[in-house]
Amino acid sequence: MGLALIAVALMIGFGALGTAIGFAILGGKLLEGSARQPELAPMLQGKMFLIAGLLDAVPMIGVGIAMYVLFVVVPGLPA
């Protein structure tokens, strides 16, 4: 049971960390791009929205599996 809980913590923690790093880079590039070419800012925003959807797809699946382990697998395990 302890290992299952550690697995859940790792899945959620690393999922959040990966998404945070990706979004930090993405946000930084948006600011940089908008400063360099202000006329392209709305287009960059649209592209960033598209990439953001792809960026957090895998961590979100990981979060779903973590919740499954936490609420379905762990209660069924012997203490």
């Binding site: 959620i12 959040a16 998404t19 979004f23 993405l26 946000g27 930084g28 948006l30 600011l31 908008s34 400063a35 202000p38 006329e39 800012a41 709305p42 287009m43 925003q45 649209g46 592209k47 960033m48 929205f49 598209l50 953001a52 959807g53 792809l54 957090d56 797809a57 961590p59 979100m60 699946i61 979060v63 779903g64 599996i65 919740m67 499954y68 936490l70 609420f71 379905v72």
Partner: protein
């Protein structure tokens, strides 16, 4: 923005339309409901598992899209980046809460169908947005 403290927004900032968020997420909701209507005669549990899985994907994505396009234009680049971060953290927390609530409260549940519906709607979202970007602002 007050009258005395106005910031000039470049004209081009208003020219590019934001994606039709309501249309994109309405379409996804409609497809989820349609799939559940198809699955309902086969298995009731399968039908509502598909709806729940689809909605777990649609609701946080819609919140994120709403946050992202609150501001547009180079003059608001800092606000855009900030609302991106806020939207993403909100999306993460909402997804965790929805999954937790589903697994804790909904019994019986077809977990495979739930994850499959979640994945399909997530892929559908990416495909719709990519088509929108590639086809010149048309879905």
């Amino acid at each position: 923005m007050t009258a005395g403290n106005e910031r000039r927004v470049p004209r081009a900032a208003h020219k590019i339309a934001r994606p039709p968020i309501l249309k994109i997420y309405g379409l996804q909701c409609a497809l989820v409901l349609l799939s559940s209507f198809i699955l309902f005669p086969v298995d009731k549990v399968m039908a509502y598992s598909a709806v729940i899985g689809g909605m777990i994907s649609v609701v946080p994505n819609a919140y994120f899209a709403r946050q992202v396009f609150r501001y547009t234009g180079a003059a608001f680049a800092r606000e855009v980046a900030r609302s991106f971060y806020r939207g993403e953290s909100g999306k993460f927390v909402t997804t965790v809460m929805l999954f937790a609530a589903t697994f804790a409260l909904v019994q019986p549940l077809q977990v495979f169908v739930l994850f499959l519906a979640y994945l399909i709607v997530m892929l559908l979202n990416a495909v719709i947005l990519a088509r929108y970007a590639l086809r010149g602002n048309r879905i």
